[in-house]
């Protein structure tokens, strides 16, 4: 059955642990300028961060800075940092993934700045087949007979919550009641033919020919079109504002703090914009964005934009919509 580990194995383990702790010790004693900034982020803005880091290294503050980066699903990345993965700069898809790290890893005042801790915005959009053969112009068209929706599953993907909240709140934006919004969402779920586990999987499913409409984010749609994907997208009259937070950790070097400041500078925000993300700083000219519906006017004004704050913040939303007895949980169980 079970054999106890030999003394040699124990020695090896002890040695490995000692080495690891020594290395960890080295990490926190940043050597001035040559400090490596560890970025831990969700995968969507990777191209933006690639561009940001190389541009930052050319600035005075970033002179000689080097970066290490890790990208993955927002929730998993957040959990990894909470469990001790080294990070100087963290960026997530949604706020709860960041607040999970407060106060142990990230200081409580991370969201006190003028942008409330956000570095980029986006909006929920409807991605359709090229030429929009089903004539989908807005949310109402999604629940017409024969329209098949693909949207990631909020039960397994935090980012997918944006999509579902957009579908629900747009019904309220038109002056509907809560029960009308629930009725719409039920119908929306009935038309959903596929709920993959993540946004990336949903995009892949839609690409492989499943469904008529993919609920996604403006930056995803723009970046897909930049890569040559054969899709169009519709920005509905009423939709939801996506706000992506980022922060430096408590023991981050000055270089990491300068990098966050750079991400919020005009140049940094323009880099985000070039990758399809809306600037969070007012007055930044996004310039021409390849892949947008109208590259010279890439981010059209949305008629009715609902925010998380309008719904009373994330903890209230998570309880009310996605909790065990939440609105969405019930609808998902009912529709199947």
């Amino acid at each position: 059955m079970f054999t106890p580990p030999s003394h040699r194995a124990r020695a090896v383990v002890a040695l490995a642990l000692a080495t690891a702790s020594v290395l960890a010790g080295c990490r926190s004693s940043g050597v001035g300028r040559a400090h490596t900034v560890a970025i831990v982020a969700y995968s969507v803005p990777k191209p933006a961060y690639d561009a940001l880091t190389s541009a930052f290294a050319k600035t005075g503050a970033g002179n000689g800075a080097s970066f290490s980066a890790s990208y993955g699903a927002s929730g998993s990345q957040s959990k990894a940092v909470a469990n001790g993965q080294a990070a100087d700069y963290v960026a997530f898809s949604l706020e709860p993934d960041l607040t999970r790290l407060v106060p142990n890893t990230v200081a409580a005042d991370w969201n006190r700045g003028p942008t409330k801790g956000m570095v980029s915005d986006s909006v929920v959009v409807i991605v359709v087949r090229t030429g929009n053969p089903k004539h989908i112009e807005g949310w109402a068209d999604l629940i017409k007979p024969g329209v098949r929706i693909v949207t990631p599953d909020p039960a397994s993907s935090g980012s997918a919550k944006w999509n579902i909240l957009a579908a629900y709140t747009q019904a309220l934006a038109g002056g509907g009641s809560a029960s009308e919004a629930s009725a719409y969402l039920t119908e929306f779920y009935r038309h959903t033919v596929s709920r993959p586990a993540s946004g990336a999987e949903a995009t892949a499913t839609f690409d492989s020919g499943t469904g008529d409409a993919l609920i996604s984010y403006e930056n995803e749609a723009i970046s897909a079109r930049q890569k040559g994907a054969d899709v169009d997208y519709v920005v509905p009259d009423a939709t939801f504002l996506i706000e992506n937070p980022a922060a430096v950790t408590k023991d981050a070097s000055q270089t990491a703090k300068d990098f966050l400041a750079y991400a919020l500078s005009t140049a940094g925000q323009q880099t985000f914009a070039a990758n399809g993300l809306r600037p969070v700083v007012a007055g930044v000219d996004p310039g021409t964005v390849k892949g947008a519906n109208n590259p010279s006017e890439p981010f059209p004004e949305v008629g009715k934009l609902t925010t998380i704050a309008d719904l009373g913040g994330w903890s209230k939303v998570n309880e009310e919509f996605f909790g065990a007895d939440g609105i969405v949980t019930k609808i998902a169980a009912e529709v199947g």
Binding site: G75, R148, A155, R195, A197, G209, T210, G336
Partner: protein, 246 residues
């Protein structure tokens, strides 16, 4: 023994320990949520159905391959092994391409429970065929001829002469198919559409891991393990009885 421990027993013990880390009550509440229950019910019923279909059809296919000569027999031999050779996610991709929303043959199974059964049938096809085939090759044709000459009908001959010989192979093939169906993930992932009504337990386990509910994931995995063990033991008993009663 050490090898076996490292390979099988230690990981199993780790899963059990994780599942029980919140005590009995934690374990029970994790596996009795509606979502966990529905997933488990779907998994077990689909797997049982698939195992039963395999037991019959697999035997028939093996019979045909051994006893009959026909054009394209070599091709059939290769095709049967195909589900073995494909990575399951590739099988899943094949299935969604053929039977998804944009099906070239006009069969749209996406997001239906039938799709789950279909996918499981696809990946478990070789098990019974490949376990029964060699045994069937060794069946004594003279005994069958003797039975026929003593005026036994074809069915009686099959039941009294052939069946007792191949029963252990049918049972072990069926058991393999069942165990494989219980844990299947890749091939059902895409065609299931990820809807609640088509979520099998392996997908539910993955979802719980995504939500950092490791105890819930381990608890569901433990139940899968127990159900598999019970069914395998029951099949073993059936087989012994069948052999004893001849």
């Amino acid at each position: 023994m050490l090898w076996l421990s490292l390979l099988v027993l230690i990981p199993l013990a780790a899963v059990l320990a994780k599942a029980g880390s919140d005590g009995w009550w934690g374990f029970w509440s994790a596996v009795s949520t509606p979502a966990a229950r529905d997933a488990l019910r779907l998994t077990v019923t689909s797997s049982l159905l698939v195992a039963a279909v395999n037991a019959v059809l697999g035997t028939v296919i093996a019979w045909v391959l051994v006893r009959d000569e026909f054009a394209g027999k070599r091709l059939v031999e290769i095709v049967i092994d195909l589900p073995f050779a494909l990575p399951t996610i590739v099988a899943g991709l094949v299935l969604i391409t053929l039977y998804g929303a944009s099906s070239p043959v006009g069969i749209d199974l996406l997001g239906t429970q039938r799709a789950i059964v279909f996918a499981l049938l696809f990946v478990t096809l070789p098990f019974v065929v490949r376990t029964v085939q060699p045994v069937l090759m060794g069946v004594d044709l003279e005994a069958e001829a003797a039975a026929a000459s003593l005026a036994a009908g074809r069915f009686t001959t099959f039941r009294r002469i052939v069946l007792p010989v191949i029963t252990p192979a049918v049972v072990s093939g069926t058991a393999l198919a069942f165990a494989r169906a219980m844990g299947e993930y890749g091939s059902v992932l895409l065609i299931s559409g990820g809807l609640n009504r088509t979520r099998v337990s392996s997908m539910y386990v993955f979802q719980q891991i995504q939500n950092f509910d490791f105890v819930g994931a381990a608890a569901t995995a433990t139940v899968l393990l127990l159900v598999s063990l019970v069914v395998l033991a029951a099949l073993d008993l059936l087989q012994r009885r069948a052999v004893r009663d001849g």
